[in-house]
């Protein structure tokens, strides 16, 4: 689907100046990273920096692929879209709130990290899947009427 032809249109008059500026910013960033090594700890920094990309490209994205593959084989086509959307939104919300929901952080103060985050996440899931249930009912009805028509 993506052939090499689509990669060609790069306008040098746009690309060259922006590439120069962008590379200068990156060099400034790496210079700052290494010249502040006492606080930026480049070893740890690179582990998490590259680790984030590796975790995405080889764990999260293949996981999404697998979930999509399973959905295709198990869910009738007219019900698929709402389920995919709700599943993805739930998963992303979990990733974004995971440190709170699973209690990874800690604080000795009752006004910090004092909420019931798992309950909050459950509430969010209920909201997402209630809307999804309505969409599924509608999709199921319209699927049935289009078949009987």
């Amino acid at each position: 689907m993506m052939d090499t032809e689509t990669d060609k249109p790069v306008n040098p008059r746009v690309f060259v100046p922006l590439a120069v500026i962008g590379v200068a910013m990156m060099l400034w960033g790496f210079y700052g990273l290494f010249s502040n090594a006492a606080t930026t700890r480049p070893g740890s920094w690179f582990t998490w920096f590259l680790g984030a990309a590796i975790a995405h490209d080889f764990v999260i994205a293949p996981g999404v692929f697998l979930a999509g593959w399973v959905t295709r084989r198990t869910v009738p086509s007219h019900l698929r879209a709402p389920l995919q959307a709700a599943g993805v939104v739930s998963a992303i919300a979990f990733l974004a709130t995971m440190p709170l929901v699973l209690g990874f952080g800690s604080s000795g103060e009752p006004s910090v990290l004092g909420a019931n985050y798992p309950a909050g996440f459950l509430l969010l899931l209920i909201a997402v899947w209630s809307v999804t249930a309505l969409a599924l009912v509608r999709a199921w009805r319209s699927g049935r009427s289009s078949r009987s028509a």
Partner: protein, 391 residues
């Protein structure tokens, strides 16, 4: 050797699995979806970058410049936007990466030097974007699974990532314009039976909206009831606002309540002074409403009462253009002192606060005396103040 490598890479032997041309069938893997999400992320990351630079400037202004005292609520707004926009970017970034994911498995991987450069710049782009959002979320959740100091690591990562974004915009501007204008090779969506492109974009937007609504209440009071994931609980703090660092964790539970407390004014002043708590209370008391706005993104409006810093400086005969360090009873650490520039020091709303929301300062809010000033990041409103050193 380069030619050999090239031949090997561009040969006919296209591997299977995700490298296959039809491995990814969904219509969402299109230029148009990538362009729409790319533009959205360009906006959100730029907003985060600018507000992040402001936050750094507010805390580490170089000697030849100063962070203004007005508008009083500026930092509260910029930092609230920084954190909320970062959180809203999570669904957008993951959706964008999924939309372009087949290109990660493109075969042949490289077919020109320009493309080699462009693909290489994707490493800091993807790694940096994920790193910034991940480290930001972990930081506001008080989770530190790494060895670096978050502010500096996040700051320098932002320069690397933003640089990669600028390169990427240069490389993709033409394609994005073509795709948005509906002139791309896949402008017309092939009928599919899963999520459509529109549905996919709607899903990303819904995810961003959902996270915004459930986080933003930590700083935006009208949404407080929906703030399921606010790291602070406003009502649970003493005197109705949160405490980030307690007296116990700062090691001042004894020194803050010691009977012989004296507030000192020293350094470049005509008459160095020393005032007891009673003497501070006997000075003219002013009342101001100012937000306490944390770099972590939460904020709260508080009614403060205390002595104007400018009044004390005048009594001690400090020059009107003097900058100073506010010193805390907290020993060592980054927050044992804070810098106040001349403009902030002369602002009538900059107080040495003795009361908050109508009652004497709670020890966790900085008893006996804390600094509060307009447009100052929360951590620079030093608690358990023991004195001022005029520079």
């Amino acid at each position: 050797m380069v030619r050999q490598a090239r031949q090997a890479l561009s040969g006919d032997r296209r591997p299977g699995g995700p490298f296959k041309q039809d491995a990814f069938t969904s219509p969402i893997h299109s230029e148009r979806v990538g362009a729409v999400l790319g533009i959205a992320l360009g906006v959100t990351f730029s907003v985060c970058f600018i507000t992040g630079l402001l936050s750094d400037f507010a805390q580490n202004a170089p000697f030849w410049s100063w962070w203004p005292a007005r508008p009083a609520g500026l930092f509260r707004v910029t930092q609230g936007i920084h954190v909320t926009t970062g959180i809203a970017s999570i669904p957008l970034l993951l959706a964008k990466l999924w939309a372009v994911y087949p290109r990660f498995w493109k075969w042949p991987p490289l077919d020109s030097a320009l493309q080699a450069f462009e693909r290489l710049s994707l490493v800091p782009l993807v790694a940096g974007s994920l790193f910034l959002l991940f480290s930001g979320v972990a930081n506001i959740s008080l989770w530190y699974p790494w060895a670096f100091f978050f502010p500096t690591a996040h700051y320098w990562a932002a320069w690397v990532t933003m640089g990669a974004i600028v390169v990427h915009v240069g490389a993709k501007a033409t394609i994005a314009r073509r795709a948005i204008g509906g002139r791309g090779p896949d402008a017309h969506e092939a009928p599919g039976d899963g999520l459509s492109r529109r549905g996919f974009l709607g899903m990303a937007a819904a995810g961003a909206g959902l996270l915004t609504v459930t986080f933003a209440g930590q700083t935006f009071a009208p949404l407080r009831r929906l703030a399921l994931f606010s790291p602070v609980q406003h009502a649970a703090g003493p005197q109705g606002f949160p405490v980030f660092k307690t007296a116990a964790s700062a090691g001042v539970t004894e020194s803050a309540v010691r009977p012989g407390y004296e507030f000192t004014v020293e350094g470049k002043v005509a008459t160095p002074m020393s005032l007891t708590l009673e003497e501070l209370r006997a000075l003219p008391q002013r009342e101001v409403e100012l937000p306490i706005a944390c770099v972590n993104g939460w904020s709260a409006s508080v009614r403060w009462k205390g002595v104007r810093l400018a009044d004390i400086l005048e009594r001690a005969g400090a020059p009107s253009d003097a900058a100073m360090e506010i010193l805390s009873l907290q020993e060592g650490g980054l927050y044992s002192h804070s810098h106040v520039n001349a403009q902030q020091a002369s602002d009538p709303a900059t107080l040495l606060a003795l009361e908050a929301n109508g009652s004497e300062l709670h020890i966790d809010h900085g008893y006996p005396v804390r600094l509060i000033g307009p447009n100052r990041p929360g951590v620079t409103n030093t608690k358990w103040v023991r004195g001022v050193e005029v520079l």
